[in-house]
Amino acid sequence: MVFGCFVEVGRVPSISLGPHPGKLVGIVYAIAQNRAWADGPCSLVRRQVMPFKSMELTDFILNFPHGTGQRYVRQDWQKAEINTKWAATRWALQTETRDRKAEMTDFDHYKVRKAKKMRNRIIKLDVRKLQKAALLECAAAAAAAEFPAKTMAAADKKATAPKAAGQHAAPPKTQEGQNTPAQKAPAPKASGKKA
């Protein structure tokens, strides 16, 4: 297995332990074998010594020389738009939904149940429609096989019509899933969490 992510000056790890879990920092200097000087000016983490063990490396690297001042770390960070890129990663989305799920109240659970029920109903209906269309197709094809030449034209017409209808009614699978608790969480709660 070849490693691609290395601990290096400029690497942006996410902190997993300690008082700033989940925040991003930039590695400014490797002080010892197991510690680094890390700074997160755009993620509200003061410049401090941090053990490597508390870091989870991301794919982001900033380009500054070792020991740079906070001002330049911030500049690089903003230029690279780390915050927006991070928010778009799956990792960040997964942690966000995980946190939201953990904070769901009984009321939220109820709303999710109802939403899932509605979604499953929609899917079921559309699956049944497709099945029906498929059956009609089979029936038409069978009929055509039994009575070849004459009814071929008529059968073709029949086959294409329901098929088109079936494709048209393809399940509009609402992409709720992960985002259901997010969507259904009441507004003040959502804003409170984003802050």
Binding site: T105, D106, F107, Y110, K111, K114, P186
Partner: protein, 136 residues
């Protein structure tokens, strides 16, 4: 002595800080177990509020006026007089059934009319309060 034992009626009734008027609770014991309710006010006996799950959802019922005479005495179960056996009759005569008084119905309606619109404001809350809680 301040720590002398007091009779139950003089005990201090504490209430969880999370339970305020308008909080939604789930009742755990009794006939209404699993039902979701709206907390209106704490009565002087502090009855029941230990055996309840608090939901962090709240309704704003600050403008709801709860009749003052909603006290423990009002809600206490009425003991119906047992029919006395008449001579020669072995089996019980018809038992007195519990009748809901008109006053209760009137009060219930008065409070419901105030609270229902508050519930309807919050989307899906009515259905939620309708549902029953279970550990499945």
């Amino acid at each position: 002595m301040p720590w002398q034992k007091k009779p139950f009626s003089q005990h201090v009734r504490k209430l969880q800080a999370s339970i305020t008027p308008g909080t939604i609770l789930i009742i755990l014991p009794g006939r209404y177990r699993g039902k979701r309710v709206v907390f209106l006010k704490q009565l002087s006996s502090g009855l029941l509020l230990k055996f309840v799950i608090t939901i962090s959802t709240k309704i704003d019922i600050s403008s709801v006026k709860i009749p003052i005479h909603f006290t423990d005495a009002y809600f206490k179960k009425k003991k119906l007089p047992k029919p006395k056996h008449q001579e020669g009759e072995i089996f019980d005569t018809e038992k007195e059934k519990y009748e809901i008084t008109e006053q209760r119905k009137f009060n219930q309606k008065a409070v419901d009319l105030q609270i229902l619109p508050k519930i309807k404001v919050v989307p899906q809350l009515q259905g939620y309060l309708h549902s029953v809680f279970s550990h499945k």
